[in-house]
């Protein structure tokens, strides 16, 4: 296993300790429950926006904690939703009179643990609501009863809600906003390699030198289909057609366009992909008013990328442009 890791059992806590040590002023850390939170939260007149999912998606979600983004994140083990107790403690720690909004990516494990935690929190009199994100067009076959996955589109829900919450939106308004973003955002990903969870010590799947996985999620699980590796433009064309064809996006639409790296793909390749996506948008009469190229929601060190498109109206455009501050320093 080619990783910087001590005892794999301590991988997640050591990562979180690192994050806490790197942000002593901005972030609080509750080791017992893997909670990373804004040290100035909760405050009573603002809805707390929280998320918890498996680890291994960094910078999501722990590095998305900060003013204008999440108030807290509570990761589980690598690719495993956090235990119910962790979720409950996170809700408790972030409780506010204005309420707590839990953003859940649509995975059975996440949903079950959060559902239980929300029930318990409600029983304690905490005003908590949850919203389930499912933007992955790779999973749409109705025979798969858990429905679509939540992948990088999650980022836009966080950003929009984080900004709106900062401006004083109520819990109900935020739920309406979640619904709007989620209904307008679509994603699909491709993997060129697998990834290695530290506790497993070897790659989750094997992929031939000339193969790729089409329609991967962000948990290292294989995709919907294995295919021969193709030139970058052909790959982008395929996922662009799937993503843009889904709502569908139309000529005249304004969009936010994201090329999300899955962890092991360098920026150079992401920009080669972006180039094609931007050309395709232009050809389709879709106007890109905001773009994101980088690693936002990853599968450890998996080589691969996903395309996310969000249709914007004035409200969403404004919310995406709102200031935010997170614990990632780029300069």
């Amino acid at each position: 296993m080619k990783k910087f890791v001590n005892d794999p059992a301590n991988f997640v806590p050591e990562m979180l300790e690192g994050v806490a040590l790197a942000n002593p002023d901005m972030l609080g850390y509750i080791p017992k429950f893997n909670i990373i939170h804004r040290s100035d939260r909760p405050v009573n007149n603002k809805v707390s926006v929280i998320q918890g999912s498996g680890s291994g998606h960094e910078p999501a979600h722990i590095m998305a904690v900060g003013p204008g983004m999440l108030d807290a994140a509570v990761p589980g083990n690598v690719f495993a939703a956090p235990p119910m107790d962790y979720c409950l403690e996170c809700i408790r720690a972030m409780k506010s009179d204005a309420g707590v909004l839990v953003l859940i990516n649509n995975y059975q494990g996440d949903r079950m643990n959060w559902d239980m935690a929300c029930e318990m929190a409600e029983a304690e009199g905490i005003n908590v609501k949850s919203f389930v994100i499912d933007d992955d067009v790779a999973v749409q076959d109705s025979s798969y009863t858990t429905g679509r996955r939540g992948v990088a589109g999650n980022f836009f829900v966080i950003k929009a809600c984080g900004a709106a919450a900062e401006r004083g939106a109520s819990l109900d308004e935020l739920l309406t906003l979640c619904d709007k973003v989620n209904s307008q955002v679509r994603s699909m990903g491709v993997a060129l390699t697998s990834c290695t969870p530290p506790a497993k010590g070897s790659p989750i799947f094997d992929l031939g030198n000339d193969e790729m996985e089409v329609g991967v999620g962000i948990h290292g699980e294989p995709g919907r289909r294995r295919d021969k590796l193709k030139p970058s433009d052909a790959i982008m064309d395929e996922i662009f057609d799937a993503v843009a064809g889904d709502i569908p996006f139309k000529s005249g639409d304004k969009v936010a366009l994201m090329i999300n790296g899955l962890g092991g793909t360098p920026p150079s390749e992401l920009y080669v992909l972006y180039r094609r996506a931007a050309q395709r948008c232009k050809d389709a009469g879709i106007s890109v008013v905001r773009n994101y190229v980088g690693n936002y929601c990853t599968s450890l060190e998996m080589a691969g990328a996903s395309l996310t498109m969000l249709r914007l109206d004035d409200q969403l455009e404004d919310l995406l442009a709102a200031p935010a501050e997170i614990a990632t320093r780029v300069f």
Binding site: G76, M84, G109, K200, E221
Partner: protein
């Protein structure tokens, strides 16, 4: 059938924990085939605490022990497995609260309650290729002996284990419709469900623990 005692339940729980710990890597590897390779780690994380804290666990009754196990699993296990296994133990524990021993009929009801709880919790149905497809045939074996006298518990355990083992092969070519493996669609065909394998492995180890089988 003679009654199942608190001590039998203790041995059962300890044996299940040992199975989960011993197979941590194996179960994760199974989950890698179509899922996200965390099942073994998740399952072990709850059972490890049961194993470590064994001496301090409340053993005043069968129900007390199972409810404590449920709490430990729910608190320490992430992914799908925490809610699923935690709910199963909770439902079984709720039906055996003050009990020091269990009849076969009571065990049958506890299994039924566990299965129903899992279905409520995760929305899975039989045929979705989850551990329910191992638990249901196990319960069927138990049900078939309810009211029949003189059958040694070991025989029933043996037959239940065989049913779980069969479930592995029977479901292998099904499509997973729950948990992470469901996203890979048809690609789950041909690989056994890790939850089903875990149930079967635990039963096989239980046979060993109680000196049953090995014909």
């Amino acid at each position: 059938m003679s009654e199942i005692t608190l001590s039998d339940v203790e041995r059962t729980l300890k044996s299940m924990a040992a199975t989960a710990l011993r197979n941590e890597k194996y179960f994760s590897d199974l989950d890698a085939a179509a899922g996200d390779a965390d099942f073994g780690v998740s399952l072990a994380s709850g059972f490890r605490v049961i194993d470590n804290d064994w001496d301090e666990l409340d053993k005043s009754s069968i129900g007390a022990l199972l409810l404590k196990a449920s709490m430990i699993i729910t608190s320490n296990t992430g992914g799908c497995s925490g809610p699923i296994w935690g709910t199963a133990f909770m439902r079984a524990g709720a039906l055996s609260r003050e009990k020091g021993s269990l009849s076969l009929e009571e065990i049958d009801s506890m299994l039924a309650a566990a299965i129903e709880g899992i279905q409520k919790r995760g929305g899975a149905e039989l045929g979705d290729k989850t551990l329910l497809d191992a638990l249901a045939p196990v319960k069927d074996v138990v049900s078939s002996y309810v009211g029949k006298d003189g059958v040694p518990p070991g025989e029933i355990l043996k037959e239940a284990t065989a049913a779980a083992n069969e479930a592995i092969e029977k479901t292998r070519d099904w499509v997973a419709r729950r948990g992470r493996q469901s996203f890979t669609g048809d690609r789950s065909i041909g690989t056994p469900d890790p939850g089903i394998v875990a149930v079967a492995t635990m039963l096989n180890d239980l046979c060993e623990e109680f000196g049953v089988g090995a014909e």
